[in-house]
């Protein structure tokens, strides 16, 4: 595929640049038990982690591909064509100036160090398989907040990692969580001590640069009793004509009365498979919030989940998906009400354009013992043209009659009258469409830190350009 046709295939994507690849260690393509063992050995991991990896690898090999979702696209994944480990830097730097020049350029272009200075409590930047830069504000460190990349977390706090790793998302959960557990590298490790409130968001930025790369970060966040944190992640990749695979696992644990908010703006280029398992456990009176935006990727399958394990726990899942040409966003939410008086809100909004497809897939479970639960699910889809597709697959399993459940779903189109109204106020058709789309996503956008909200709005306006004709 020539450069031009590659660009045609993925549209106008402003993060599609790539920098020269200067790998210090690059594994051969393909997956085997030896590859898994090599990754573990290279990282000098304890034996127990090697064992977890190898066991997970075997599970991965045994498990079939999911038989639901977009099977056609899933079955196109060639696991043998993927590079499972690539090291670009000899270490994780704490000083931005010491990050290798080419990598630094990439993140400079993405505006990362600038954002850190302005509004972040800490930042980690992952390039290919490993973190290349990491920092945390001193005051947070003094309060005992741990914020490290996952590899360092395992080295420095093996006991905590051993206690919690894989307890929320076991390797055997699904084929891709097994794959991640086998070959994971990078991601964030966070522990917030009892009663500590991290006021400024901490951010992770994930960048795939190499072709046919597989990125398998693993994130574990533990918020101890009565603590709170807001974690933000962003992702981009260059535009190649061949595919990359991003398969992360995120585990959140909110102890009694703790609050974790996890915000994502996923803007992978349209050649990335984004197959991610995100799940949190909320203990008594704890809150877990997933704020999940999916704009990029070829195929996303992601259903942020919350297990409401303790009485009075609360889950909030706000997600938006934008599916353009050639894209399928199969996203949604899962909430399991296991304890009495637990509550949840799910809001899902999707936009389909130029033949794109967005699906809402949701699961709401209330167990027989979970009395007095309340849940509200709202799914809204907006179709920008007749070629596009939107579908919903809601599942409810309700084990007792005391639950108070609401479910609303709507599919709408942009009306000619709305466009005419906005155009009569001096806005071109594209600008009018951009305003309608931004307005539709507003309930999501307003939950993001302002810098992300502005960026997202700009991104959607760009998507509307050249879209009308």
């Amino acid at each position: 595929m020539s450069g031009d046709s590659a660009r045609d295939a993925v549209g106008d994507y402003r993060y599609g640049f790539h920098d020269p690849e200067n790998a210090t260690i690059r594994f051969d393509k393909g997956l085997s038990e030896q590859v898994v063992r090599d990754i573990s050995e290279l990282k000098n991991e304890p034996q127990w982690m090697t064992d977890i990896r190898v066991k997970a690898y075997r599970r991965f090999m045994e498990m079939p591909m999911p038989s639901w979702g977009n099977c056609d696209m899933l079955n196109q994944i060639d696991f043998e064509a993927v590079t499972y480990f690539l090291r670009s830097s000899e270490g994780t730097e704490k000083n931005w100036d010491e990050v290798p020049e080419d990598i630094k350029n990439t993140f400079d272009r993405l505006g990362i160090p600038e954002a850190e200075q302005k509004w972040l409590g800490g930042v980690t930047a992952q390039y290919e398989s490993e973190a290349v830069y990491h920092s945390i504000r001193e005051d947070l460190e003094e309060q005992g907040v741990l914020f490290l990349d996952m590899d360092s977390g395992l080295k420095e706090y093996p006991d905590i990692v051993k206690k919690y790793f894989g307890t929320v998302v076991p390797a055997s959960d699904n084929k891709f969580s097994a794959l991640n557990t086998a070959v994971w590298s990078g991601g964030s490790f966070i522990y917030i001590p009892k009663g500590v409130h991290v006021e400024m968001p901490v951010q992770a930025y994930f960048r795939i640069n190499a072709k046919n790369m597989g990125q398998f970060e693993r994130t574990l966040i533990i918020a101890d009793e009565g603590s709170s944190i807001h974690y933000v992640e962003g992702c981009t990749a260059p535009t190649y004509s061949t595919e990359s695979l991003h398969s992360a696992v995120v585990e959140l644990i909110a102890m009694d009365g703790a609050k974790i908010r996890y915000s994502t703006v996923q803007n992978w280029s349209a050649n990335v498979y984004n197959l991610v398992t995100k799940r949190g456990i909320a203990h008594s009176n704890a809150t877990i919030e997933w704020v999940d935006g999916n704009i990029g990727s070829k195929l996303t399958m992601k259903y942020p989940a919350v297990i409401l394990k303790g009485e009075g726990a609360h889950a909030e899942v706000i997600s938006v998906a934008y599916a353009g040409k050639g894209q399928h966003q199969d996203a949604g939410a899962k909430v399991h009400h296991l304890a009495p008086n637990t509550t949840s809100n799910i809001l899902s909004k999707s936009i389909s354009k130029n033949g794109g497809r967005s699906s809402y897939r949701g699961m709401l479970q209330v167990t027989p013992k979970a009395h007095g639960c309340r849940s509200k699910v709202v799914c809204d889809a907006l179709m920008l043209d007749a070629d596009s597709q939107s579908d919903t697959y809601p599942t409810m399993e309700v084990g007792n009659s005391s639950a108070d459940l609401e479910h609303e779903a709507s599919v709408s189109k942009v009306s000619n009258d709305q466009l005419f109204y906005l155009m009569s106020r001096g806005h071109s058709e594209e600008e009018a469409m951009g305003m309608i789309v931004n307005g539709f996503f507003e309930p999501f956008t307003r939950e993001l830190p302002m810098e992300y909200a502005v960026e997202l709005n700009r991104l959607l306006e760009l998507e509307m350009e050249g879209a009308i004709g």
Binding site: S415, D417, Y421, M423, F441
Partner: protein, 246 residues
């Protein structure tokens, strides 16, 4: 008076094959207020929407020019940027878009290089909102979303004042307003009238007690059947439309 802003010549308009406007000619100059009166279904709203460029209407013959430029050469947003404004009978709601943001974006789209600075814009906005008796909480609501009829009309007039058009088309802006709101809306129209051409579409005389038209046109079945001065509105109020029908 002179300065023509709108010139309509033997206009015929159809919607889905049905002819709604059947030969209308009308010229509006700066400083003139024209009122078009008639029953529901006479084609009054169609006329306003066609001039603004609603895509559902087809001009089958005749011409319209706006400040000397034939309208077929101008997109809807270009008409707006050139100074045309339509106050909608049924303004659309735009969920998720805050009134404040919408107004700022519209002012910068329409007034372009002459748009006020952020600070001047806030000042201008505050002044107009006070004159229209609008609370500041309007600005954080979503455009027309869940608005009452009167609130929608006030927002239309607020936009008109901010966009400062040279041709204002007001489609049934008086319907559904209580007497206080009617007065506020009329003040708004009167304040732009000296510098603009105004076309008021109404089937009540009420608004015309507060805004004095220079010309009143009676429209029946897609045609203007009679044109007169402000006194014609009074005649219609007293005698109805029957005496004008053939």
């Amino acid at each position: 008076m002179g300065d023509e802003v709108l010139s309509i010549n033997d206009l015929h308009v159809s919607v889905e094959g049905n002819e709604i406007i059947k030969g209308i000619s009308l010229t509006i100059s700066v400083g003139e207020i024209h009122a078009i009166m008639g029953r529901n279904g006479a084609g009054k709203s169609t006329l306003a929407n066609v001039v603004m460029g609603h895509p559902s209407y087809e001009i089958t013959s005749g011409t319209i020019s706006f400040r000397g430029t034939p309208l077929e050469e101008m997109e809807v947003f270009e008409r707006a940027r050139a100074g045309m404004f339509l106050s909608f009978q049924y303004p659309s709601s735009i969920p998720g878009v805050q009134v404040g943001t919408f107004l700022r974006k519209s002012v910068s789209a329409v007034r372009g290089e002459n748009a006020p600075s952020a600070r001047d814009f806030r000042k201008e906005l505050k002044g107009h909102m006070e004159s229209l008796d609008m609370d500041r909480s309007f600005l954080s609501r979503y455009v027309n979303d869940g608005f009452s009829g009167g609130e929608k009309k006030r927002l239309e007039i607020l936009q008109m004042l901010l966009l400062n058009p040279c041709l204002a088309l007001l489609d049934e802006t008086d319907s559904g307003l209580d007497i206080d709101a009617l007065r506020v809306v009329a003040d708004g129209i009167n304040s732009i009238a000296p510098e603009a051409g105004c076309l008021l579409i109404t089937h009540y005389q009420r608004l015309l007690e507060h805004v004095k038209p220079d010309f009143v046109h009676v429209m029946i079945d897609g045609k203007i059947v009679k044109t007169g001065g402000a006194e014609l509105a009074g005649d219609l109020e007293a005698k109805g439309y029957d005496w004008l029908e053939a």
